[in-house]
Symmetry: C2
Subunit: 218 residues, 2 copies
DNA sequence: ATTATTTTTTAGGTTAATCTAAACTTTTAT
DNA sequence: ATAAAAGTTTAGATTAACCTAAAAAATAAT
């Protein structure tokens, strides 16, 4: 049984490592965990002793099979709870993350099973992020940033990359949402900003940075 | 902001004190908290320093206004979550307590507000226990143990007193549930056991002890 | 190839929540 | 009223998760 803190470390390592692909360094982990490098060293030793990660002094940590599985279970819970909060309780997509950070640590297999069923087995959360299945498998869909999509061609908004509340609120305000059908109608060479048509009904200007955080499929 | 442990202590003090009526002694608190008296002494000093309880050395603790309010907020959350688990997720009434013990500590006013609305403002939980309103007020309804109810008169099962999973499972098995209409059709002088008619359809024998744990209204 | 800078680890402490063992109060029994 | 028993508190440790400051290793700059 993992502690609340251990679970959060595993989750952070998963995200920072790109789903377990690259090693994660002490300082970046300290940064995301909002703690000091010395504390991180303590914790990675502990997780390493539990065979959840491989720790090599001065060279960072890598997720091991068990650690990755645990991380995925927590992410699964997080995203199911976010889906619940939006779909059933009427939260907006910018309000759910903080609460889900707490709910993801509730220990009950039965609860998650029943929650999943109640939500009718969703595959993505309110931010378009995939929900791992009970065994930790993720259905990957190839998405590219709107910033890299060709102009004048229709595409569908599938997910946000950076899901900060302020970005999400901004998107809602200008009328961009998951599943919206959009196309780039103008591109400013100078700064990469775009004019985007939404559902053939509305046109908005967004910065390159915003367009890099919107993931689409053709 | 209270810690997880502080919240659990306040809740235990609330229940052991009969909603704040009597003082609670160190040993009984140690018993329910599954800890040692020495640890309890430490914690009650802390809660006392926060003005949540009044602690008198060797004579136990009494809930203060703020402590009682906090306890009631936690109980409110516990019971709303139990209601959610049964009414929305399809848990049985014997499965919910443990999970609610965890969920009651989630910190989000908005969440509880929206959960309450989603459940359509329930007044009692799956065990018939009243759900305090947002300000901590409880709508008390006078109930008496079935064991003390006169024979041959109809009454309604309103709540269980001891809600242990095994008792709840037993009640389900013999067909007793909250809101069932029952009457005592026979009383054995020797051991106080009863024959009970349920909904005029079924008759079951229950012990005095069981009858003392079933709360009814006439 | 040294030296300087950055990154990471180690050493030694702190706080919350626990524990055991010993000391102290209160209650009960003689 | 005194002694025994029961209940409670204090003293001193332990563990998890953190910290600061100093030491060590890796990386970058001259
Ligand atoms: Mn989130
Ligand atoms: Mn999300
Ligand atoms: Mn309960
Ligand atoms: Mn209950």
């Amino acid at each position: 049984m993992l502690s609340y803190t251990e679970e959060n470390y595993l989750k952070a390592i998963y995200h920072l490592s790109g789903a377990g692909e690259r090693p994660v360094l002490t300082n970046e982990l300290a940064e995301t965990m909002q703690t000091k490098p010395a504390s991180v060293t303590d914790m990675v030793k502990k997780l390493s002793a539990k065979n959840l990660i491989a720790y090599e002094k001065y060279y960072g940590v890598n997720l091991l099979k068990q650690g990755k599985l645990q991380a995925l279970q927590i992410i699964r819970k997080h995203r199911l709870w976010e889906t619940f909060l939006v779909n059933k309780l009427g939260f907006t997509w910018d309000e759910v993350h903080e609460v889900a950070e707490q709910l993801e640590h509730i220990q009950s297999g039965l609860l998650i099973e029943k929650l999943d069923k109640f939500l009718e087995y969703p595959t993505v959360d309110p931010h378009g992020h995939p929900i791992p299945d009970p065994s930790g498998k993720i259905k990957e869909v190839k998405q590219i940033p709107l910033a890299d999509f060709p102009a004048y061609k229709k595409c569908t908004i599938r997910a946000v990359k950076n899901g900060s509340p302020s970005f999400l609120q901004y998107l809602s305000k200008i009328g961009i949402y998951i599943e919206a059908s959009v196309s780039i109608v103008d591109k400013v060479e100078f700064d990469g900003s775009l004019e985007v048509s939404i559902d053939n009904k509305k046109r908005v200007f967004i910065s390159r940075e915003a367009a890099q955080n919107l993931m689409v499929t053709g």
